[in-house]
């Protein structure tokens, strides 16, 4: 019976997108882009907000070095004033002349490149307010799309974050975030980045929101709660597999209630489910393994080098053999 919680914590520290270098750079880029749009666009006015994994704090460092940040631009206008969503997106693209910008169907993407390697990109999502309080319409479509492909899609980009906050209590929520990060890193390490072969991060997040159960134990003496990430992750993967009949359908818990894996083909889906099965088997094997070294090697097969290898016994790893004691008699 292995636990490897120390290793999972180190793994989490290694992969999480924290408030350190990369994230600071990302925020700088984001602010520069937004300032530029405000300067050049000349109306309508907008407010911006973080969304996606940045807002959910479930971001992981990309394996290929392509950091991204999702920003929502909430324009103070209406659908009726902008019947063509692509027109408004084009205004944003125009304001960013000089940047490497691409008008893509779901958003406007700004790339920062160094030696032709994509290093950072900022996804700008263009919204106008909906009639329902708090809801928005997302500008969908790209230049040259036929009319049916262009739409103002009714959505709530902050719903996942709100759902995460209301579904789990503080420490359990953190475990949920960690487990999402582990799944995302597994996705990045095991699927090609291009196309729809890889399950979307937002889909994995929504799946966790639906099926994650915290795994923890209370130490009644110390009055502390300790989380068991391996068990929680294994439980979630098992639940996802159980719902893959045969497609895994995970719907956004808010309008438009899309199936977040809908773009995966039958073949892509079957590969995804098969790999999920392998992960499930691997996690169970690690859980049952009495040897922490071999359990850690099993996990490294799925999560890559950032998951630490256990070489010595766990007690030898404990630091501080001489500590100050307040006990007296």
């Amino acid at each position: 019976m292995t636990i490897l919680q120390t290793e999972f914590n180190k793994f989490n520290d290694a992969i999480r997108l924290g408030w350190d270098n990369e994230e600071a750079r990302l925020r700088e880029r984001r602010d520069a882009v937004i300032d530029r749009i405000r300067e050049r666009m000349g109306g309508p006015s907008f407010s911006h907000f973080n969304q996606g994994s940045y807002e959910l704090r479930t971001g992981v460092k990309p394996v290929n070095g392509d950091y991204d940040i999702d920003v929502g631009l909430r324009f103070n206008t209406t659908r009726s004033e902008w019947p063509d969503p692509v027109a408004l997106k084009q205004r944003v693209v125009d304001a960013l002349s000089g940047y490497k910008v691409e008008l893509r169907r779901p958003c406007v993407t700004v790339y920062y490149q160094r030696r032709n390697e994509p290093l950072y990109h900022v996804d700008l999502n263009v919204y106008v307010p909906a009639e329902t309080e708090g809801m928005l319409h997302l500008a969908v479509g790209k230049v040259g799309d036929a009319a049916p492909l262009k739409e103002w899609r009714f959505t709530d980009p902050l719903a996942l974050g709100a759902a995460l906050d209301t579904t789990f209590a503080a420490d359990d929520r953190e475990q949920c975030r960690r487990v999402i990060r582990y799944l995302k890193r597994w996705k990045d390490s095991n699927f090609p980045a291009q196309g729809n072969a890889a399950p979307k991060g937002i889909g994995l997040t929504a799946a966790a929101l639906q099926w994650f159960t915290p795994a923890r134990e209370r130490d009644g003496v110390a009055n502390r709660v300790h989380h068991d990430d391996l068990k929680a992750l294994s439980g979630l993967v098992w639940a996802m597999l159980a719902h893959a009949t045969p497609r895994l359908v995970v719907k956004l818990p808010v309008p438009p209630h899309d199936d977040l894996f809908r773009r995966m083909s039958e073949q892509e889906m079957s590969i995804f489910v098969a790999k999920l099965g392998e992960l499930d088997e691997g996690l169970r094997r690690a859980l049952a393994d009495a040897d922490e070294g071999s359990a850690s090697r099993t996990l490294r097969e799925f999560f890559g080098e950032d998951f630490p290898a256990v070489t010595s016994s766990p007690t030898a790893r404990r630091i501080g053999a001489i500590v100050s004691s307040g006990s007296a008699g």
Partner: protein, 592 residues
Amino acid sequence: MHADDLTATAELLCAAGLLEQGCVTPADALLEPWARLHGVVAAIEGVAHVDGHALALRLGLTPRFPGRLPTVFVLDARLHGRIPHVFQHGHVCYQEYEGVLLDRYQPVAVAREALARAVETIRRGLTGENRADFIEELALYWPGAAEGLGFFAADAQIQPILRFVLPWAGTFAFVRDRAQARELLVAPMPLRVPEVMAPLEAWFDDTVTPGLYIPLEDVPRPPDPFPLGPWTRAQVAQLIRHNLSDGQRRRLEQLTRGLKTRSTFVILRVPRPRGGDHLVGIRYDDIRGAHPLARATGSATMTQFRVERRDPGYLVPRGGGEPPLRAKRVLLVGCGAIGGHLAGELVRCGVGHLTLVDPDVLRPENAYRHVLGAPSLFVLPAKSLQLAAEIQQRYRGVEVSGLAASIEDALDQGAIDVTRYDLVLSATGDPNVDRGLNERLHRLEHRPPLLFTWLEPLGIGGHALVVQRSSPGCLDCLFTPHPLDASPVLTNRAAFAAAGQVFTRELAGCGNAFTPYSSLDALRTAELAGRLAVEVLGGRLRETLLRSWKGDGAAFHAAGLRTSPRYEMEASALERGGADVVAAGCKVCGGR
């Protein structure tokens, strides 16, 4: 209340009709002995109807009335000493003072209820209902003065005992044997050298008189009529003979044969109807012929006397201690601030055998948090020896021994066999010593319960953990991190202080580091551990249990120290204790 006010109160009581034909007692009567003896400064007298008889009564008030009960007297001299609870001058003992709360704003009601209780006491006497109270209160009715201190164990067997004069107390001591007498004689002596011992032995030989201890069986019938004043030889002999078994009677005959002295004495144990017993004494002088209690005739003068009891069988229950603990043996490791308090408290709780183990001498800088106070300027014996001697001197009949050694050495050298104890209690406060002891004792198949107690700095709290075989967990479990702890550190999971801080202070450089805590913290910890020990020894607690007290933390936080999540728990829950001590992966007990 002032005398004039009391007279006014007395008039008020008359007017309230407490007694028929009631009137205020004339001032000159208040100069008589009955009034002076009981401090009565105002009184009323009149008639009350008791069981069909018209009885003349008097109700006296003292200056403390109504904060004190009034005194009630039966004026009919024929009843004095004839019914239980009616004494000299007809004073009626109707209520123990202890255990009453008086309505100080309602003097009339207090007097009325007091009178009603006194009348009920007299009524029960007249009908004979409370005849057994003569025995219940025998020590009160037993004439004669207190003549000495009884140190021997008042058990069930008739046996010879000795009386001698305690030189510095100028009173008799009644002891089991010569050895017990020697113990009493040498107790105050700082040195036990022959030069000191020889005169004491000689003194004993000069003053010793043989006598008998006779425990009566069941509750004896009081003589009828109950003797007023001194009893006759025949009345005493009858009380004894009528209340012995055949076996005891034969033993008494053997022991009274061939008396060689002109004087002897008997200490009688008289069981009380409502539990407990009395010890009363009879002295025989100028004996001609056989023992006055033997069947043969002879002559002797007889004097009754009372005994002040100093035997643990009597004193321990009086102190709230538990008599069954007398047979219990406790090994106390560590005689510091906690251990010092604990040793005394365990004895006061009734523990009969105590072994103290501590190699250290008392250090002057700890004087203000050790029960022994400042060390003597002359000799520096180990705390264990000094504490054992102190306790032994104050509590006769308790076996206390000290061992000036570390517990590790004592065990290595076989000086201590822990299996001979009913409880091993460690108050060293040193987690390394305690964990060693825990591991060592865990290997023993027949180990006694193990109790560890320690405190934390600056009044933040203290702990007591008892480890028992019938349930899982041990001390090392507390030092075993939870298997899911992502950042395990070496710490005590029970600690109120957050891990990774330094608590010791230094008064004067190297080697003088000390943990700051006060004597009150030690006392509170000792109390927690002591109560736990008594529950375990009494067989009322059979599981492994951790209890803690938590202080307010003001001084602790002011010192810039941080508390642990455990400190956030409810104080009441911490004191009630938790049995979930066990930790999977404990290297000593294996979490089982």
